[in-house]
């Protein structure tokens, strides 16, 4: 018996590894503390807060998609309901002068998310795969449409608002200034990230992975996949509720858009673009997508189109997301064969960039002619000015697009060859690819 346990259980980590592990979390905490010292402007503090909220939301979504293999199109329901309940809670606490400070209010949102996940989850998680995706969509539409009918509670189109500064003060903070909200969001983000990471290390977290990979086998072992999915769903709802609560506190308003399909789509985009295969993936995705949506909207009026195209490109070419792409290179780095691939990357990037530039140029030109045809044809997109009416620009767009595509296709096969040789060398050295 002891032999079995000793061979089944992983060896206790060495002190150095432990130090590395805890050092990582401490570094993250210190970085969160110091961030406002470096970027202190109001705009960047708001951005950081949004990123923090998005990180919690995306990680909670990844409990479903990445850990348990459930593709949900309605995760914003729990986010939104958490937000609404928190706004109501702040109003009630403020009126009745209850001794509850703002920092623990997000817990109310989390519990709301949990409650609704407990209620709706049992039906939703009965089936997995495509059926679950459709059911989550239907349930989300049901809740979102009901929110517009129950006007007193959800405030109709306008939503409901609250004043976060009227609550019991803690350390003389009233949470009016953005910096205090930043620290609140940062603290909750750290707590939630640690909790969700810990969740992946529990037996439940492991069973979730098993249900994702082979539900039939899980049944043989004696677990009910439905129950495991249900638990995962409840945890995801809880953390989504916390994210929604923080968003509601940040904006001091909750409206029906919180619950809607757009919000559900955004979290799906963020999680998938970041990468569902690794715990850190959704964090990367949340940062990337938040910055992208804030940055792109300044650069071009049709940023959502680019957003969708990026998502499709990730689905088609990099199903592992950004982190998946980066992690692919780890065995090569270990084997020291990364240098074999890099030159072919450099070669491939030139025509690929040319193709993307051609695509952007064509899109912006077409947008000019369809959206505002009467305007001056000298338009500016991505910080570059050009004349959309000039045939030279059209020719350049066409050449870049078609020429870039033809050359890029060729160069990416070279990348493939270089990749194959590099991985086979790595495999010979005994490093699993």
């Amino acid at each position: 018996m002891t032999e079995i346990t000793s061979s089944a259980a992983p060896p206790l980590p060495a002190t150095a590894e432990k130090l590395k592990f805890y050092g990582l979390w401490v570094t993250a905490a210190v970085a969160l503390l110091l961030l406002p010292k470096i970027f202190g402007s109001g705009g960047s503090l708001t951005t950081f807060s949004l990123i923090g909220i998005s990180i919690i939301f995306s990680l909670s979504y990844n409990i479903l998609l990445g850990q348990t293999g459930m593709l949900s199109f309605g995760h914003a329901v729990y986010y939104g309901l958490g937000g609404f309940l928190v706004i109501h809670a702040i109003n009630i606490i403020g009126v009745n002068k209850l001794p509850i400070p703002l920092p623990i209010v997000p817990l109310i949102g989390g519990l709301t998310g949990l409650l609704f996940a407990v209620l709706l989850g049992w039906v939703s998680t009965q089936r997995s795969g495509t059926a679950f995706a459709m059911i989550s969509l239907g349930v989300a539409e049901l809740i979102a449409s009901s929110a517009l009918i129950l006007r007193t509670f959800f405030g109709g189109e306008a939503g409901i608002s609250a004043n976060r500064t009227k609550l019991l003060r803690m350390f003389d903070w009233n949470f009016g200034p953005q910096i205090q909200i930043y620290y609140l969001v940062a603290a909750w983000t750290l707590i939630a990230v640690i909790a969700m990471y810990a969740l992946t290390r529990t037996p439940l977290g492991r069973m979730c992975n098993a249900v994702r990979d082979n539900p039939e086998r899980v049944q043989f072992v004696g677990y009910d996949p439905h129950v495991v999915r249900y638990f995962a769903f409840c945890f995801a709802g809880f953390f989504a509720g916390i994210a929604g609560a923080l968003a509601a506190i940040n904006f001091e308003i909750a409206n029906s858009a919180y619950l809607g399909a757009v919000q559900s789509g955004t979290v799906l985009f963020a999680t998938y673009i970041g990468g569902v295969g690794f715990f850190i993936g959704p964090i990367v995705g949340a940062i990337f997508v938040t910055l992208l949506s804030l940055g792109l909207s300044d650069l071009t009026p049709v940023w959502q189109l680019y957003f969708g195209l990026i998502f499709i490109a990730v689905v088609v070419f990099a199903p592992g997301g950004i982190t998946g792409l980066l992690m692919m290179h780890r065995p090569l780095l270990k084997a020291g064969t990364l240098a074999k691939v890099l030159p072919s990357y450099l070669i491939a990037f030139v025509p690929t960039l040319a193709m993307i530039a051609g695509l952007i140029l064509s899109i912006e030109t077409i947008v000019h002619y369809t959206v505002n045809p009467g305007d001056d044809s000298h338009i500016k997109a991505f910080g570059v000015s050009f004349d959309a009416a000039s045939p030279y620009i059209w020719a350049m767009a066409a050449i870049l697009l078609i020429g870039g595509f033809l050359v890029a296709r060729k160069t990416w096969t070279w990348v493939g060859h270089a990749w194959d040789t590099a991985t086979s060398v790595a495999r010979e050295k005994g490093i699993a690819a």
């Binding site: 089936r127 495509t130 059926a131 449409s145 189109l305 499709i312 088609v316």
Partner: protein
């Protein structure tokens, strides 16, 4: 009351047949490729907008033929160059691909035709009332829509039941791998089925465009209802999709024409509750909750019959 019943039944059957035009394509695509095409409603929207544009240039009748062909060609291209590449990454990736596609199509439609509704009118040759029933004029265009849907439904039935192609498609519904083993070019069948399925959705778009509102959000409004139809009917079941389409069409149409509410049935609430959220539930009419009826039906079906009305296969 009788008038209401007759008119609502007509409208409900009409809406149900339109839903089935889309749901049939969606079901066949799902059964063969194993992927639920999230962008199916987007092809319905593309059909409506292509129909609008072509009917402006050449008239309504050419549009009725060209727009579905165009949308079907785009659909076939999507399968050939998009879905087939993603296939190796599994069903989740395929579903996400179509999800992204739906997002992009909506953006493109917004860029080209704008966000506000376009002026897609009933062709003059059909702009008269077909018959008068209990003092209500029933527009001929609606009868035309009904006829087109029934004609396509009958055509589909004949093709599926009486031809060799239909035989292969039917076989692929239940045993997709076996069809491949028997030496059929599964890739080409998939592309064809995807193209025909999206073309059917586009037909629904062209004929529904003038009667409903042709707007960039029409796919987002109809898409979820379409998925409800497919899940309620049972994923992959064509008869199930038919029953569910009619059921949801009728339920929604009847709900819209009813004005009852709890306060109408039991009298108004006491003044103590007048400003609470209970008043919302008490005062809401059946017509107001018509949009959520399909989703309520979905939840009920899931509780009592998780595999759908006529579904047998678990995904």
């Amino acid at each position: 009351m009788l008038e209401l019943t007759v008119i609502s039944t007509l409208n409900g059957v009409l809406f149900g047949m339109l839903l089935f035009l889309m749901a049939s394509g969606l079901t066949v695509i799902f059964s063969m490729l194993g992927v639920l095409n999230f962008a199916h409603a987007s092809f319905y929207m593309l059909g409506a907008f292509f129909g609008f544009q072509i009917s402006r240039w050449f008239g309504f009748w050419p549009a009725l033929v060209i727009a579905p062909l165009l949308a079907g060609a785009i659909g076939a291209g999507v399968e050939r160059f998009g879905l087939r590449r993603v296939h190796k990454n599994g069903h989740v990736a395929e579903l996400l691909f179509t999800f992204g596609l739906a997002f992009v199509i909506e953006e493109i439609v917004q860029i080209i035709w704008g966000k506000s509704p376009v002026d897609f009118r009933v062709p003059p040759s059909l702009d008269f009332s077909a018959f008068t029933i209990f003092s209500t004029n029933y527009p001929a265009y609606k009868m035309f829509m009904l006829l087109v849907s029934i004609a396509i439904f009958a055509g589909l039935l004949i093709v599926l039941k009486k031809t060799r192609i239909g035989l292969i498609v039917q076989a692929a519904l239940t045993h997709p791998h076996m069809v491949g083993h028997l030496g059929h070019n599964v890739g080409r069948i998939f592309m064809l089925v995807f193209g025909v399925g999206t073309a059917l959705a586009a037909v629904a778009g062209v004929i529904a465009g003038p009667a409903l509102v042709t707007q960039a959000n029409m796919a987002g409004l109809l898409g979820p209802i379409l998925f409800v139809v497919v899940v309620v009917g049972g994923l992959g079941s064509l008869p199930g999709a038919f029953v569910a389409s009619l059921l949801i069409g009728l339920v929604q149409t009847f709900a819209v024409s009813m004005n009852g509410s709890l306060s109408g049935a039991f009298g108004p609430l006491g003044p103590d509750y007048a400003s609470t959220w209970l008043a919302d539930i008490w005062g809401v009419t059946i017509a107001q909750i018509a949009p959520i009826m399909p989703y309520v039906l979905l939840v009920l079906i899931l509780v009592f019959r998780p595999m759908g009305l006529l579904g047998t296969r678990d995904t």
